[in-house]
């Protein structure tokens, strides 16, 4: 069982980081996917500035391949916390010809999100994007800084990161460059779940088990939607499924589960011995896939 005072310490650290981002940047924003980690960051941002309102716009990169629940949740949430919403549309980038759809049976829009994100940063003059990235998620992220510098092409240079000492965060940059800031770097998946329960944070219904129409592909249950085409031998079936992460609907696989409440989900996560990104098709392509995408400007 998580000791509450450890959560207090993680919360204090995250609030400190969020306030530093506010103080050091001109146009700090939160990259909001509608997933639990970005919801937690938004909650912490509210807490950091109470009784004043949240001083950050929420940026959503819309791949066009959304779970409908994610969009409903996003619009309701933004209204509820009184934040500005900035949407970057991947479809617009494709229509403008700045991004090209991946071809082939494994093609998805995960990689080209980076193009839309950089275009949005440019258009809105954003110099800081806060995100829910955590160091425990993946090997490449274990070396990520709280304040992560990106060059004018949005690239992360893992070999040339700024040293980060104590909690003195350096957001100095040249024109055209920006920062990604990760306030919950030091949290684990378990810490996030325990915090959600403690704070009574509302989550999209996709995190809870319900009967959903799915197909079995690459070791997980992929939701049937207008955006995927069935391959030979794939038969849609209804299973009781929940999702451990939320992303593009064409690549976010669910797991079979009966956990329909927050307590049940937490109990299940505590016993699950598989990392949450294990069900994301995009990370399986190669041993270094996350690192490659980070270098290109993916979160």
């Amino acid at each position: 069982m998580q000791q509450p005072s450890f959560l207090d310490e993680l919360e204090a650290e995250a609030i400190f980081v969020i306030r530093e981002a506010y103080a050091q940047f001109e146009r700090p924003t939160i990259l909001f996917s509608g997933g639990k980690d970005s919801i937690v960051v938004s909650h912490l941002a509210q807490k950091a500035f109470a009784p004043a309102g949240i001083p950050f716009a929420l940026v959503h990169v819309d791949t066009g391949h959304n779970f409908p629940e994610t969009l409903e949740f996003r619009d309701r949430y933004v209204k509820q916390i009184g934040a500005e919403l900035i949407v970057g549309s991947v479809q617009d980038s494709i229509d403008r010809g700045t991004a090209q759809e991946e071809q082939g049976p494994l093609g998805n829009r995960n990689r080209i999100q980076s193009v839309t994100l950089l275009e949005t940063i440019d258009r809105e003059r954003i110099d800081c994007l806060m995100g829910g990235g955590r160091r425990d998620e993946e090997k490449a992220r274990a070396k990520e800084r709280f304040f992560s510098h990106r060059d004018a092409f949005g690239q992360w240079d893992p070999k040339n990161q700024r040293p980060e000492l104590w909690n003195l965060f350096n957001g100095a940059k040249q024109p055209g460059e920006h920062f990604r800031v990760f306030p919950i770097s030091n949290w684990t998946e378990m810490n996030v779940w325990h915090y959600i329960r403690r704070e009574g944070i509302e989550l999209p219904s996709l995190y809870f088990a319900a009967p959903r129409e799915v197909i079995w592909r690459s070791g997980s249950w992929l939701p049937v939607s207008d955006f995927i085409s069935l391959r030979a031998g794939e038969v849609p079936t209804t299973k009781t499924i929940r999702f451990r992460t939320l992303g593009d609907i064409t690549i976010t696989g669910g797991i079979e589960s009966e956990a329909a409440s927050l307590d049940a989900v937490i109990a299940e996560v505590e016993t699950l011995r598989q990392t949450e990104r294990g069900n994301r098709e995009d990370d399986k392509r190669s041993e270094s896939s996350m690192e490659e995408r980070k270098k290109q400007g993916y979160f």
């Binding site: 204090a12 500035f49 040293p163 000492l165 350096n170 100095a172 684990t188 690192e291």
Partner: protein
């Protein structure tokens, strides 16, 4: 302590990655798919299950078989949460070791039982002392290669004592172990009945390094001013920050620096909750009973007056690939102030081989540790690093490139 932040440094062959892999594996902190990936990688490389692959993150490192940055690992046991800053050990990565140690309470130092205390042991211990770590665990590794002999272990313990004193380490523990076989990492060793002390994990679970900041005078550097300007909170003016030392309660008299103005704490808030007091480490918002000039960089204090000097004596670690030459200017950044600064004098430079300070030449190169004096354009509000890490640490930033070039500890 609910969480132990610790650091470890090591190089290719001293078994550090294997030790961490073993700690994660035996404490059941490794997930099935991570293990599958490691098993597949091990197979491709033609080795048995190589636990060191669990911790070597970046692609280049995997290709070169070395650890080149600071990587953070997380694990928890029913007794405690752990945050591990895993750093490379060679002399050219001194800056990474310094970075990893800056946020740690304790350090693991690995010694190969066959070789005993070597140059690298000395350097790692010295850095732990320099960064003010309160506890060190010396892991005497590869005991399987010295037939689990007690004499090899006791020799290392005895040889380490002068180093402990020279490095200024208040608390040192020794554990004989074999990371490869798992002896005394999580499970007690059947091969070393002569050792009755705790396993490494048991020690990590019970270590209580001193936290001088928790007992020091109140220090509160202000990050930003909160003014809602809403009808409901029309006159609200709060100061957001994290308590860097001591504690504060509603009704306490505080002094606001740099103006040295007195005020009384009227309210303490965390989100929507009003608190009666705030302690070291908490991020809160304070309100005062009167309008005083408070901005980012201001510091609220109680008890003894803080240090307010423009000329600071400091130990400095040069981090940047580009060196320092006399006359260059930097941006000084600390919680108690920010502004232009220059290195007035490089007094002595540490020889990383002999660990003796030698006269400085005025220049500084990557990884060098030196005693310097720094002249700030405006005096910041500080403390000595030994008393308060948060108020006593600073960085120097290159004013053009924006990179962090040096880290300093005020003496």
């Amino acid at each position: 302590m609910n969480v132990l932040r610790f650091t470890t440094a090591g190089s290719v062959d001293d078994g550090k990655s294997t030790l961490i892999g073993r700690l994660l594996y035996d404490s059941k902190s490794v997930f099935i798919d991570q293990l599958d990936a490691v098993a597949a990688s091990s197979k491709r490389r033609g080795t048995e299950l190589d636990l060191s692959l669990l911790t070597d993150g970046l692609k280049d490192e995997r290709e070169q078989g070395i650890t080149i940055d600071v990587a953070y690992r997380y694990f928890a046991t029913p007794k405690r949460n752990f945050i591990l800053a895993d750093t490379p050990g060679h002399v050219q990565y001194t800056r990474n070791m310094v970075t990893g140690a800056s946020t740690a309470d304790a350090a693991l130092i690995l010694i190969d039982a066959r070789h005993g205390v070597v140059e690298q042991t000395r350097r790692h211990s010295f850095i732990a002392g320099l960064l003010g770590l309160k506890a060190v665990i010396v892991c005497v590794n590869k005991m399987d290669l010295v037939d689990f002999a007690e004499a090899a272990f006791t020799k290392v313990c005895a040889d380490y004592e002068p180093l402990r004193q020279a490095a200024g380490l208040p608390e040192v523990h020794f554990v004989p172990l074999s990371a490869l076989l798992g002896d005394n990492v999580v499970e007690a060793s059947a091969h070393m009945p002569w050792y009755s002390g705790p396993t490494l994990l048991a020690l990590l679970e019970t270590l209580e390094p001193a936290v001088p900041e928790a007992l020091s005078d109140f220090r509160f550097p202000v990050q930003s001013v909160i003014r809602p300007r809403t009808t409901e909170h029309h006159d609200f003016r709060g100061y957001a920050g994290r308590v860097a030392g001591g504690c504060v309660a509603v009704g306490d008299r505080v002094t606001v620096w740099p103006e040295a103005l007195e005020a009384t704490v009227e309210g303490i808030f965390l989100g929507d909750h009003a608190l009666q007091e705030a302690h070291y480490g908490q991020s809160v918002v304070l309100t005062l009973d009167r309008d005083v000039n408070v901005a980012r960089g201001s510091v609220l204090t109680a008890g003894s007056a803080p240090q307010r000097e423009a000329l600071l004596k400091a130990k400095l670690c040069w981090l940047d690939a580009k060196g320092h030459s006399p006359g260059l200017r930097y941006e000084f950044r600390a919680h108690g102030g920010q502004g232009q600064a220059m290195i007035a004098e490089v007094e002595r430079v540490l020889n990383l081989e002999t660990l003796a300070y030698e006269p400085g030449t005025g220049q500084l190169e990557t990884n060098q540790i030196a005693e310097v004096s720094v002249r700030c354009a405006q005096a910041p509000t500080t403390e000595t690093y030994a008393n308060q890490r948060m108020m006593g640490g600073f960085i120097l930033v290159d004013p053009v490139r924006g990179t962090t070039v040096a880290a300093g500890m005020i003496q």
